[in-house]
Amino acid sequence: MKELLSNKYLTLLFRMILGVVFCYAAIDKIVHIDLFARAIYYYHILPGSLVNILAIFMPMVEMFAGICLIIGVWPRGAVTLINAMLVMFLIALTVVYARGVDINCGCFSLSSRAKGSAVTLIWRDILLLLMGLQIFFFGKDFLSIHKLQTK
């Protein structure tokens, strides 16, 4: 089991998946800061004064952490940030689900017809988090610029 978990190709695959997912998810939010701020607001979780700050900066962290993970620059720092965000999303989605608020999740697309119930979103988040944990705990720096630097 441990052998499988620390398989370098598995880490590489997870790095690519997480990296691409986070970059893809960030694009729409970076372009439409205003719509993303509104989506955050409708989660009913953050105080109004923090909504815009999160909307301005979080998509950038998503994108740069995603890029770092793909090309393998500072991969442990990147995956730590990504895991932290996934835990944050998990808490937010669970709170929303428990309260029964109907929201536009604002996860990937900010269009009004972005579908997916809270339960689906929570499972998807957990799946991504498991990949993130594998990279964090078992990740070897296979095929990363980071490894070339430190050699």
Binding site: Y41, I53, G77, G116
Partner: protein, 173 residues
């Protein structure tokens, strides 16, 4: 550990600079510190605005307008919330069309409503209340994608309706 912290700080610093630049030059920039209305006010029509509404959107109805329209049995009320919310209580006679649910769920609900309506039918959408937007998005979808001409939104939604003691029912359709 120190190396890990350093990596995190570098990525955060790059994101900080990029975020500042993006919000400074973006066409869709926002105030640095937002002034969003408090949800505590959302029950009150006078202090609540539909934040996402555009001037071209289907018209919003007040509670008085919605309850007046409700007297006309030809006007169809559509609940845009999730099935479990609908089952817990909805406007009496309203149909369920869960706008944020999975495609299959939405499609099967729509199949049940479709034979009852035509493009000239008068439709009123609603969701939980002013703190949700699925009533607006559903109304846009009905008008713009499905071609219904008379779509209106009761933005006060389920909460205002049930608080006002207007007719409700529980369970499935």
């Amino acid at each position: 550990m120190k190396k890990l912290l350093k990596e995190i700080v570098i990525i955060l610093a790059i994101s900080l600079v990029a975020g500042i630049l993006n919000n400074t030059f973006s066409h869709n920039s926002v105030e640095w510190i937002g002034s969003w209305p408090s949800f505590a006010d959302s029950e009150n029509d006078s202090t609540w605005d539909c934040l996402s509404c555009e001037p071209t959107d289907p018209p919003l109805l007040s509670l008085a307008e919605a309850s007046a329209l409700y007297q006309n049995p030809e006007i169809i009320f559509i609940d845009a919330r999730y099935p479990d919310e609908y089952e817990a209580g909805h406007i009496k006679g309203a149909y369920l069309l869960s706008f944020d649910a999975e495609e299959e769920v939405f499609d099967s609900q729509w199949a049940a409503i479709k034979p009852l309506v035509d493009s000239s039918s008068q439709i009123v959408t609603y969701c939980s209340g002013a703190d949700c937007e699925s009533s607006l998005f559903l109304a846009r979808y009905l008008r713009d994608d499905l071609g219904f001409k008379n779509v209106r939104i009761f933005f006060g939604g389920w909460r205002r309706w049930s608080k006002a003691g207007l007719p409700i029912e529980k369970g499935e359709e």
